[in-house]
Subunit: 396 residues, 2 copies
């Protein structure tokens, strides 16, 4: 068991109509001029953006708006936000959306808080450490990334389609408004993709050689069982408040830092291999993870059979087989069957992409940092470029 | 399901030798002159207090010390601390101990932060609302109360032996240093009593008419199962780091606010009835809860059979009986059997007290606020004075 630190200062305001409190929350957390950051047109079409701007106005808070954040949020949009925020003397970022919008807001917040930082990409490239971050608030509309309480931000640089992350407590949002009703209109594919992302945030931590606290593993198993129950329920009835609420809160719990305490940060091989898929092919993040996981699991499970056994029995609820191998494979099969019920891909082909040999080489080249790094070493098993290629190919 | 807010800003620093970081943590959170507050002689005898003062000195932080906090911490000690803190211009409270010491520190912190507050007891008597609270830091030496991350403080006024609490986010500690090794020397009775307190913090929330989120219930069950496993392990081998760590982290999780999200604050009847026992007879808090719980459960379970059934099957792991009644009673019996294995009392007599008729009347009189309030109404079932008397008598 490892020592750990755990710091989760985000003020969570959860439930129906909670977005009406946004003006007071911005003021409480020191905002005087807000950049309202959002993504696609759905926030506009649904009327949410207008309502939010109205609440800010009612509370006497000045604001400017910037939309157009896309999934796998782009560095160019971040630069646009930085320029606008500086020009308008913005001191608070309000993200209205999901993980992409929140991550883009965090990137802008890093940039405007540190005049000494010439290019915010330096943080993502790992060349510099964050020194400061302007306050960020969130109105969450997609349950998936957990960025509303997490310390992480992932940005894609168009030049070379590099997708890179920064994890720093400075960027933890000051508040997160979470109204499950705001996710009612999310299309089924996005709902399912977000659900898989939530599960994978838990599983990337659950599968690791260093045994976390038992209570950590027990809570992770409870979270995964909860998702197995409520993700299909939300797909069946998109306005099932209970299901949407369970999924939304699980999304935060999965990524707030609770689910690996006592262990290392986890494996994250699937996330890193998916990041390259997302960067090159612009697939939905959770769907990309779904397409890779079972292949990864079958490739590595012999390095940590005991955890794959408890996953099979305690999470997937399968009957133990004649030996560990059989139990484990039943668990992985059961997870694939679950993916099928929520109409998520179990392979790259089902994901809708068929990378050429050249493209697979490029994916591996990027994911291995030009052959210079392995991934997954803090988790189940370190993977080098050769392993990555084998998994990408087997996931075909 | 109810809307909720969740705010847990305490910076947790968990693991071996973490107390060495105390000087830097005090400075990070703005402390310049510290009142080091502690309880019995064990902190002195073990050398911990000297070490802590040394770490503060090394970090260039000034301090004064005040010991002598007792279980069911007294208002007179709080007054003494306030006088000392004001005289010494203290701006930071450092509690070195368990719940009693932390609660006493919180009371002092309320008083010194609000010059307009003439008598801090007014907060506990419910006459005034807290307006401010000086920063509090914690070095935890007893896993039990969860006060190291919670917003609550419980103080006993000697005049009338009234035990009252204040719950306010202002009092959440800025940091909590949690080194499981510091609990190695805790006597078995205190270890077990603390363990029961941790379980009861979870159970008082678990048993309520308003259904919390399913993930809340699932995490609560995982926490309770973890305590069933690790409390006996810590009693068997007091220097079992893993067991001490599991218990210590469960103590925080149980009371940090996670375990009732989506529901009301819970029942708390046992806590309130035990508070009066603690005030009048000065019994160990967890032991007092142990002595009451099964009697309370048998008295109220028909008002919420479904939750008592899941407690029996999912937590206590009993085989379902022929009907719910049988299942529920098996679960309550199993909990009593667990109490016996950890040598905790299952009745007032086993607790070592045999209140006279007069004393039972006085307990009820105080717990019912002179017959004017019911308890438990937000949980399983409201109890009036007559119910309280029946439970105190049946728990004999």
């Amino acid at each position: 068991m490892l020592n750990f630190e755990h710091y989760t200062p985000t003020e969570i305001v959860f439930g129906k109509e909670t977005e009406k409190q946004v003006g007071n929350l911005v003021k409480k957390h020191g905002g005087t001029k807000v950049l309202v950051h959002y993504g696609s047109n759905s926030a506009v079409r649904s009327g949410l953006l207008d309502r939010v701007c109205g609440y800010l106005k009612d509370a006497g808070v000045e604001y400017v708006t910037l939309g157009g954040v896309v999934p796998n949020p782009r560095l160019s949009k971040v630069y646009e936000g930085i320029e606008l925020a500086k020009k308008e003397k913005v001191d608070f970022l309000l993200a209205v959306g999901g993980g992409s919008t929140i991550d883009s807001a965090k990137a802008i917040a890093y940039a405007i808080a540190d005049p000494g930082l010439e290019d915010v990409w330096d943080l993502y490239a790992g060349v510099k450490e964050p020194a400061a971050c302007a306050p960020v608030g969130v109105i969450l509309t997609i349950a998936a990334a957990g960025s509303e309480t997490s310390n992480s931000s992932v940005i894609t640089k168009e030049d070379g389609w590099l997708k890179r992350s920064v994890n720093n407590d400075l960027a933890r949002p000051r508040f997160a408004i979470m109204n499950p009703e705001l996710t009612y209109t999310l299309p089924p594919y996005q709902t399912a993709s977000g659900g898989v992302d939530i599960m994978m945030h838990t599983m990337e931590r659950y599968f690791q050689q260093t045994k976390p606290l038992d209570i950590t593993l027990g809570m992770s198993e409870a979270l995964l069982r909860n998702m197995l129950k409520y993700l299909p329920a939300a797909l069946e009835n998109p306005t099932d408040y209970e299901a949407r609420a369970e999924i939304m809160w699980c999304g935060s719990l999965a990524h707030i830092g609770l689910m690996n305490l006592g262990g290392t940060r986890g494996d994250w091989s699937c996330h890193q291999m998916e990041h390259e898929l997302g960067g090159m092919f612009d697939v939905a993040h959770g769907a990309g993870l779904a397409a890779l996981w079972a292949t990864w699991a079958r490739y590595v499970y012999k390095a940590l059979p005991e955890r794959f056994v408890t996953f099979a029995t305690n999470v997937m609820g399968v009957e133990p087989g004649a030996d560990d191998d059989e139990t484990i494979n039943r668990g992985i099969d059961a997870f694939e069957a679950f993916l099928e019920t929520v109409r998520m891909p179990r392979s790259l082909t089902e994901l809708g992409i068929q990378p050429t040999d050249e493209e697979i080489k490029e994916l591996v080249w990027k994911c291995s940092f030009e052959g210079k790094r392995t991934i997954g070493g803090a988790g189940v098993r370190a993977l080098n470029a050769e392993d990555m290629e084998a998994i990408y190919r087997a996931a075909y």
